[in-house]
Amino acid sequence: MEHSSPAGRVFRGVALTLILIFFMFPIVWIFLMSFQTNEQILRIPPRVLFEPTLANYEALISGQLRTAAGNLQISFMRNLFNSVVLSSAAVLLALLLGVPAAYAFARFKFRLGESIAFTLLSFRFAPPLLVLLPLSLYYQELGLNDTYFGIVWVYQLIALPLILWIVRGYFEDISPDIEHAYRLAGHSWREAFTRIAVPLAGPGIAAAGLLSFIFCWNNFVFALILASADKQPVTVGALAFVTASGIQYGQIAAAIVLSVTPTLLLALYAQRYLVEGLSLGAVKG
């Protein structure tokens, strides 16, 4: 990076542009598709210039899907609402459980501590299908099938290990002396945890929360098996667009745009917290 000849600068510009186009193209194309009818989308060759229509969004929001075979009821808005509720609740629960656990793993040595932490991480390695069959049997037994709580619980398999391991690293980076100093100033360990450790690990907690929110949001298999129509998130709900009379590309595109928007906004909002305060200069480096 230190030597940049004119040719190198041009090459870097071209390379960056190519990469940007490569990654942004699908998103832009989906965005354009969401304003087109199925006929316009399937036209060959595709056109960049077209007459935009809001029919796709109307169909989604009104829940009426008009196809060649007749009218279909879809519950996209319900699915979107489910996604928000399930992901938020799952992340909230995972933060409540995971942050204190991460602190314990970071600060205290206890028997089997490493093994427990690794076991929790290994939940991330296991393919979801591996646990789904026994899980669905248990859920039927426990009456947790098709409940919000049941899905939030199973989402802990996604969110909890992530939060635990990311936040643990942040806690380990905080000098224990800072907490010792706070305790010597006359505060209990609980106060040292809530007023020193958690604020200082804030960026890490935000990052872990955001990541696990996105992973929960994108999850498909758990909700597909464990929830029925009225509890399903958008990822499963999108299956409704594959109808007997063909695939509704326009509606799918509009649904994707709508379902990506919340996570995108959240990511943009949380971005500054991820960067801010990572190097606080508390301790002499």
Binding site: D177, H180, A181, R183, L184, G186, W189, A282, K284
Partner: protein, 365 residues
């Protein structure tokens, strides 16, 4: 007003024993420096007093009450850390005030008083990352001092500040610390700092207290050769000798020359000893006498307030001499003769390293 008593405290981490039967008492208002090479257990001792570790054995009492097992926040201890350990998300003011549970007005006035004393009033609204190392260190000191703790623990607080500030703080700290009635334990790796600040120095070597005495006593009468080597710059010169007593006079052969070591008394040492002579007690001249060691100057290091000569004695031993800078008219490769006064000689048992004999240095450092 509470004294700190450490009663035969031991702590082991696996095979390492950073504290091995430590006993020490610090009176209210007294400053005791805990001095020792790195890894000798200084910080472990402080952390046991502060309650970050519990001792395996022994007891720690503050004001006569055992604090072993008590949580750190109930021990009445103020502590300044080597790495400052300021709370990065709070301003300097909130850092200092963090230990006070009092009404807003009282907090404000006490923070104002202590920050005026430490000359940090102008940076109170700054976050720690905006402070210089010196200001961080003063903020950490203010935080430790503000609660008027019974016991004040300072863990090498001047380690991370620049040389000029360290010098200033060495002058200021004793006055600052004596304002209160806290029993102060001051950990340092710098013998000069220990001598400048402390009423007494506790020399910690390998988890044991090798000597606890006033700075002057430790310099003049080190209990062992190991302690003698820790105090003084340049370090003390040593020679292997076997002293003999003749006609009531103790003497030893150093590099072929017979040197008088003072009057022999009943406890005259027998057998192998270390002879120790401080570099500043050595005189160098070009005139030969029978009580001078022939030597050759290998190098001269001018150090402004003194000149340090590296000498090779006739038997190959290398000694250092610290002379006033204007005295030596000598140059490297000159052949010279080395003398020292008999009362400057210290004898240590070669096997145990302990100091023997009546040869007391009267002159303090």
């Amino acid at each position: 007003m509470a004294r700190l008593d450490i009663n035969s405290v031991s702590k082991a981490f696996g095979a390492a024993r950073p504290a091995d039967g430590l006993s020490l008492a610090v009176e209210p208002g007294e400053i005791v420096a805990v001095f020792g090479p790195s890894g000798s257990g200084k910080t472990v001792l402080l952390r046991m007093i502060a309650g970050m570790f519990e001792p395996d054995d022994g007891d720690i009492l503050i004001g006569g009450r055992s604090v072993v097992g008590a949580p750190p926040e109930r021990r009445g201890i103020g502590m300044a850390f080597q790495n400052f350990a300021l709370f990065p998300h709070m301003t300097a003011r909130d850092n200092i005030a963090s230990g006070l549970r009092a009404s807003g007005n009282e907090v404000a006035s006490r923070v104002a008083a202590i920050s005026k004393l430490l000359k940090i009033e102008h940076v109170l609204s700054h976050a720690p990352r905006e402070l210089s190392n010196g200001q961080k260190q003063r903020t950490a000191l203010a935080r430790a001092l503000i609660g008027n703790p019974d016991v004040l623990l300072l863990d090498d607080p001047l380690r991370n500040v620049d040389a000029k500030l360290r010098y200033e703080m060495r002058l200021e700290l004793p006055n600052l610390l004596r304002r209160g009635t806290a029993a102060v334990l001051y950990v340092t790796q710098d013998y000069r700092e220990a001598m400048a600040i402390a009423d007494r120095i506790a020399v910690l070597i390998d988890g044991r207290l090798a000597q606890v005495a006033t700075p002057a006593d430790i310099y003049a009468q080190p209990a062992s050769v190991a302690i003698a080597r820790l105090f003084g710059d340049p370090t003390i010169n040593l020679a292997e000798v076997s002293p003999v007593a003749e006609h009531g006079v103790l003497s030893a052969t150093v590099a072929g020359a017979r040197m008088r070591l003072g009057a022999a008394d009943g406890a005259a040492p027998a057998g192998a000893c270390w002879l120790g002579v401080r570099p500043e007690d050595i005189a160098v001249s070009s005139a030969s006498t029978d009580d001078a060691i022939p030597a050759r100057i290998l190098a001269i290091t001018p150090m402004h307030e003194k000149a340090v000569l590296l000498l090779r004695l006739a038997d190959g031993t290398e000694w250092l001499a610290a002379l006033p800078p204007d005295v030596p008219h000598s140059a490297a490769d000159d052949n010279v003769f080395v003398r020292f006064a008999s009362d400057a000689a210290m004898l240590f048992d070669r096997a145990t390293g302990l100091r023997i004999g009546p040869t007391h240095r009267l002159k303090a450092a």
